[in-house]
């Protein structure tokens, strides 16, 4: 016998391992502990239209969206008939390149990317731009320097400096130098140049504002201002800083959005759509990104299996929950069932049919089966032949139930075919023997008990939370195993025993037995205490007492015989 210590140690290890596995999966794959948590996924589609400038080859370089905190790109694809597609990196920026030998007519290319709103995503492809020394041509250089001077005197750091420049641009629209600049450069272009003139690193970036169901949106211009490792993004129009949650940075390295050779009249527009996806799906998408990035992770989820095997495996994993319910109901509650795990298999069948159809089907099959079996028992068949006959009869019942219910237009009835026929046959056999041996009371008791356990197991297995946990956390299996082991060690009373022994428990103190003066349990406890106190001498005392009594009894016997 394994010592208790080892047993509890192993059980504890199993339990803790299960918990740790669940936490691991929760943290790495962000599988939520409860089902139904939704995440937001944005699908952004860029549509590139252009006309070829001749018959020659066409190359389209389209900047791919930037990596940014808060939004994780989980998927991308392109749609372009007859074009060769390539993803490439140039000057630190990623591009998708479409190429075609010869084109004619209006061309439309699509690039689609999916983004997950993700608080944990913190990486960024934004790099600090180098400070260029080349001066702006006159008279713009002077105008920019003037602007920078003005703002510089009223600011403390790069960010307040930027705010001042934007304010200046807005307030002094009528100023000669500013209108001159606005004619030459875009607003953000002026800001970046002014910042550079003041020795501040800055760059123009393009963002897409995400609004559900919008089409035909253009890239908006923003200015990123750097101060040491930090940066802030400013809206050149109104001077507001920071990014809103629904803004997606597309170009972040001052790179052009589109580079077209062999075409003209190019136009890029964005359309976007918001999806709500389950947290599990989101976790899968994220894990897919990590995997593509070379991160080796053990999924530990049945999602790693082919889809077809998944559904089968899901049922197998659910089985352990049913087993746990059976162990609990039999050991702790004390429900009597016919066949230990038959109720779990019945519950599995209920999952396929549904509770009402399942219950009706079960009672019908077992009822008819019992009638047929009672007739078979008159034939005095051998066991194997008898069971086989019952199996065939069960198949017949299931077949006729299916056909009948189909004829009556009840398609639900077709699902009785999911019942485990061999198990049902054994159930019928066992119940029939029980009927003969113990009477119908016991059959009703055990049959009812089995159905009760089956319904409990069904309710547990069909619960969304239970399914979610078993499908997604392999760790739950370890926890269930440890719970089953702990229950297997339970020496306390079953719930039904509290009822069974109620008369005894209430009588045991009420009625003294025979000539007993003290409660027997108390007297014997006292004697055991005495024995534990001095095992050797008490044992000897009792032994001698017994030997003396034995002699006396023998003597009395002998004396009696002599008389």
């Amino acid at each position: 016998m394994v010592s208790r210590g080892v047993f509890y140690f192993v059980t504890a290890i199993l339990f803790v391992a299960g918990i740790l596995l669940m936490v691991y999966q929760h943290l790495t794959f962000e599988v939520p502990f409860l089902p139904g948590q939704a995440r937001t996924l944005w699908s952004v589609e860029a549509k590139i239209e252009f006309r070829p400038s001749g018959d020659g080859p066409v190359a389209v370089n389209f900047a791919m969206p930037a990596v940014q905190p808060g939004l994780l790109q989980v998927r991308q694809d392109t749609s372009s008939l007859g074009y060769g597609v390539d993803y490439l990196t140039r000057h630190g920026s990623n591009y998708v390149e479409w190429t075609k030998r010869s084109v004619s007519g209006e061309q439309v290319l699509y690039y689609r990317a999916d983004f997950l709103i993700d608080e944990d995503s913190s990486s960024s492809s934004m790099r600090i731009p180098p400070l260029s020394e080349n001066a702006e041509p006159e008279p713009y250089g002077t105008a920019i320097a003037e602007l920078a001077d003005k703002a510089g005197s009223r600011s403390a750091d790069p960010f307040s400096f930027t705010a001042q420049i934007i304010k200046e641009l807005r307030n002094s629209k009528d100023s000669e130098s500013i209108s001159l600049l606005l004619k030459q450069y875009s607003r953000s272009g002026i800001i970046v140049r002014a910042l550079r003139a003041a020795g501040i690193q800055a760059r123009e970036i393009g963002i897409v504002t995400l609004e559900n169901g919008r089409r035909n949106r253009q890239l908006e211009s923003r200015v990123a201002v750097f101060s040491g490792p930090r940066y802030q993004i400013f809206n050149p129009e109104d001077g507001t800083s920071g990014m809103r949650e629904n803004q997606l940075i597309w170009t972040d390295n001052g790179n052009p959005l589109l580079n077209l050779t062999g075409g003209k009249a190019a136009r890029v527009s964005f359309s976007m759509l918001r999806h709500r996806i389950s947290a599990i799906e989101a976790g899968k998408l994220k894990a897919g990104v990590d995997k593509a990035a070379g991160g080796e992770m053990v999924s530990l989820s049945i999602e790693a299996l082919p889809v077809e095997e998944q559904s089968m495996f899901k049922n197998i994993l659910l089985l352990t929950v049913g087993v746990l319910i059976v162990v609990f109901l039999r050991i702790i509650v004390g429900v009597k069932t016919s066949g230990t795990f038959m109720p779990v298999l019945i519950a599995m069948a209920f999952l396929q049919t549904n509770l009402v159809v399942g219950l009706i089907g079960f009672v019908a099959i077992v009822g008819v089966g019992l009638v047929v079996r009672s007739w078979l028992s008159h034939l005095n068949l051998l066991l194997v032949a008898r069971i086989s006959a019952v199996i065939i009869v069960v198949i017949g019942i299931i077949g006729s139930l299916s056909v009948l219910s189909y004829k009556f237009g009840l398609t639900e009835g077709l699902k009785v075919a999911f019942f485990p026929m061999i198990i049902l046959s054994w159930t019928i056999e066992r119940m029939s023997i029980l009927w003969e041996e113990e009477g119908y009371h016991e059959v009703l008791k055990q049959g009812g008990g089995s159905l009760f356990v089956a319904v409990c197991a069904y309710l547990a297995m069909s619960s969304g939370i239970v399914q979610h946990l078993t499908f997604n956390f392999i760790g739950i299996q370890f926890i269930i195993l440890s719970l089953v082991m702990i229950m297997g060690n339970y020496t306390g009373f079953r719930l039904t025993e509290l009822k069974r022994f109620k008369p005894l428990a209430s009588q045991i103190r009420k009625y003294p037995n025979g000539d007993q003066q003290v409660q027997e349990s108390e007297r014997l406890r006292g004697e055991l205490k005495e024995l534990h106190g001095d095992p050797h001498n008490v044992y000897r005392k009792w032994k001698h007492q017994a030997q003396d009594e034995l002699k006396k009894a023998k003597g009395a016997d002998a004396g009696g015989k002599e008389d």
Partner: protein, 331 residues
């Protein structure tokens, strides 16, 4: 103890703490701490098969009904008359039967046509006898319908001290033997309600028997104490098992014989040959506690506390049990 505000449905349930204090043993406790700890699995076939039980009983000189012969194969059935020989009274039973099913008692033979006379007085011929044997071999009476063996035993001549205490048949004495110590005893008396069967939950009367004296402690039917047998109206407190020390010594010697630490022994009293072992049970039930109005655990624990219990002889163990587990002072 506060009883106010206790919901009505709770009154149907006993308090498990109180039950624990009184030493009542539950099913889980029995299975884990007694059966699986003290009964080796490999020894189970010895008690589940009456032929094997009889074999070890004979080799250990434990008194049991004498085996006339056994029928193991279908073709042996043809020779059954040779096996029976000139025995005019005998009993045929399945080796793995349960609940007294499939037992055929032949009391006499018709001298003219050689027919067998059943205990009910009905006559059956050779053909009927063979068919009964076929049914036994096919497993009609054994648990789960397994193939079985038929035993042909000498008939027990029941001591008529028990007449009137049972509605049908003659009761046997169940003694729980733990580590060779008789721990608790009872008799199950069939009633009309139990259909002549000795199953307590079907309405048989259970009588707790005092370990010291063999006298009835109390009698219960459907868990409630009763005074008179419901069918024969005999006062149940008058029930006393004779040859009590012999009965207990026979039961206690089953420990050495079977090697099982926790067993139920069923013992019958033969008018001429005294106590005889009928069968052993490796998973004795717990209803014996209700019949005796006492929990098993304090008695079992006292024996577990005797670390040198293995050195005691059978009569010493019986005397110890009588000393410590008795209820009546005198018989």
């Amino acid at each position: 103890m506060l009883h106010f505000g206790k919901p009505a449905f709770l009154k149907r349930y006993a308090n498990p703490l109180e039950m624990g204090r009184d030493g009542i043993m539950g099913m889980n406790q029995r299975n884990i701490n007694y059966i699986s700890r003290y009964n080796r699995r490999s020894l189970y076939p010895l008690v589940d098969n009456k032929l094997k039980t009889k074999g070890i009983a004979v080799s250990h000189h434990v008194n049991t009904p004498k085996l006339i012969g056994s029928v193991q194969d279908q073709h042996d059935i043809q020779n059954v008359l040779d096996i029976i020989g000139d025995h005019s009274e005998f009993c045929i039973k399945p080796a793995q039967g349960s609940g007294g099913k499939g037992i055929l008692v032949i009391k006499d033979r018709n001298a003219q046509n050689g027919h067998f006379i059943k205990s009910s007085g009905e006559e059956i011929n050779n053909h009927d006898l063979r068919r009964h044997l076929t049914n036994i071999l096919a497993g009609l009476f054994s648990l789960g319908g397994r193939q079985d063996i038929a035993l042909i035993e000498e008939l027990i001549h029941f001591d008529n001290v028990f007449s009137g205490f049972s509605y049908d048949g003659v009761p046997d004495t169940r003694v729980i033997v733990f580590q060779g110590f008789p721990v608790m005893c009872m008799m199950r008396l069939s009633t009309l309600a139990s259909d002549g069967k000795a199953n307590l939950h079907q309405g048989a009367v259970g009588v707790g028997i005092c370990v010291r004296t063999g006298r009835a402690v109390r009698a219960v039917q459907f868990n409630q104490p009763i005074e008179f047998h419901p069918d024969t109206d005999r006062r149940l407190s008058e029930l006393t098992v004779p040859h009590w020390r012999q009965v207990l010594e026979l039961a206690a010697s089953c420990y050495e014989m079977s090697g099982l630490g926790y067993i139920g022994t069923d013992i019958v009293l033969d008018r001429d040959k005294g106590p005889m072992l009928l069968e052993l049970n490796a998973r004795p039930g717990l209803a014996i506690q209700i019949c005796n109005n006492a929990g098993l655990l304090p008695r079992l624990r006292l024996i577990e506390g005797l670390t040198k219990r293995q050195r005691l002889t059978v009569p010493e163990r019986v005397e110890f049990s009588m000393e410590h587990f008795g209820v009546w002072n005198q018989s």
